[in-house]
C-alpha cells in the first residue's frame, strides 16, 4: 500500500467561485491519463468537487491532496476554516449551515458530505471548531487497474 504512484497538491482559494471545480477537473484528467477505471474516476471527481466547493464556500483557503496508490485513491482536503460543530449532524442529508445567498447559487443544499460518503469507500472527518477541518476519503481501484 505504500508505493505511491502519483501525488499532487492543489491550493484552493475560499470564495473563488470562478475557479471552483478546477482542482477536481485536474484530478479527473490526471486519473484519466493514468488509465484508471472510469467508474472510479467518476466517483473520485464527484467527491473531490464536493470537498473543493466546501473549502470555497465555507473557508478562506485550503488544499486538496491527491494520492494515487496501486489499489486505491486517497484525497485529503484540509482547511483552516471555521470547523464543523457537529460532524454527525453535518453528515445528514439536507442539513446545512450555508447562508441564503450561497443557497441561491445552488450550493449549500446539505448534500456535500453525504455525496462524498456515497462515492467513497472510506471517509474520515477530523474537525476542530475555530481551527479547521480535514476530510480524507479513499476510493478503491478494483483489480489494480492502474
Amino acid at each position: 500500500m505504500n508505493d505511491l504512484l502519483y501525488s499532487h497538491t492543489y491550493q484552493i482559494q475560499g470564495r473563488d467561485f470562478e475557479h471552483g471545480g478546477e482542482a477536481s477537473s485536474d484530478i479527473k484528467e490526471a486519473l484519466k491519463r493514468m488509465g484508471i477505471n472510469p467508474q472510479v474516476i467518476k466517483r473520485t471527481a464527484i467527491a473531490s468537487y464536493e470537498a473543493e466547493m466546501n473549502i470555497i464556500v465555507y473557508t478562506e483557503k485550503g488544499e486538496l491532496l491527491l494520492e494515487v496508490y496501486p489499489k486505491m485513491i486517497r484525497v485529503t482536503a484540509t482547511d483552516r476554516g471555521p470547523g464543523i460543530e457537529d460532524v454527525e449532524l453535518a453528515m445528514k442529508e439536507g442539513y446545512s449551515t450555508a447562508p441564503p445567498e450561497i443557497r441561491e447559487m445552488g450550493f449549500g443544499s446539505g448534500m456535500g458530505l453525504p455525496n462524498i460518503k456515497k462515492n467513497a469507500d472510506r471517509l474520515l472527518i477530523e474537525s476542530h471548531p475555530g481551527k479547521g477541518t480535514k476530510v480524507i476519503f479513499e476510493i478503491d481501484i478494483p483489480n489494480a487497474s492502474v
Binding site: 471552483g20 468537487y49 445552488g106 450550493f107
Partner: protein, 115 residues
C-alpha cells in the same frame, strides 16, 4: 440523437457561448449543484436557472456539452467567456425549465416541437 445545432434551431435558443459540436440523447433539469454533480448523466443537456460561473465547472466535470439557462435569465460575461474556453455551449430561452424540458424531451423522442 439530436445535434445541439438542431436543438438551437428548433427551440430558437439564444447562443451566449459556442461549444464543441455534439449530439444529445438525454437531458437533466436542476439547480442544486450537488444533485447535478451526483445525478446528471454525462453527455446530457442541462437545463437550469443558475447562471453564475460555477455552472461551467460543473458541466466540464460532468462532460455536459450544453447548458440552457431558462426564463431569459442572463449570464454574466465571465460565464460566457469561461464556457467558450471550456468548449461548452451556453444557451438561453424565455421558456421556463418545465416547458423547455418538455420540448426537448419530445425532440429527443423524435417528435415535433410545439412552437
Amino acid at each position: 440523437m439530436v445535434s445541439i445545432k438542431e436543438i438551437i434551431d428548433h427551440l430558437n435558443l439564444k447562443v451566449y457561448a459556442t461549444g464543441k459540436e455534439a449530439s444529445i440523447d438525454k437531458g437533466y433539469t436542476g439547480d442544486l449543484l450537488s444533485l447535478v454533480i451526483g445525478s446528471a448523466p454525462s453527455g446530457a443537456l442541462w437545463i437550469t436557472v443558475q447562471r453564475h460561473v460555477n455552472i461551467v465547472a460543473v458541466a466540464a466535470l460532468k462532460e455536459i456539452p450544453a447548458i440552457i439557462i431558462a426564463q431569459e435569465l442572463l449570464p454574466e460575461e465571465d460565464v460566457m467567456k469561461k464556457a467558450e474556453e471550456e468548449g461548452i455551449w451556453l444557451l438561453g430561452s424565455p421558456d421556463d425549465a418545465f416547458t423547455l424540458s418538455g420540448k426537448i424531451f419530445q425532440l429527443l423522442q423524435g417528435g415535433k416541437i410545439p412552437r
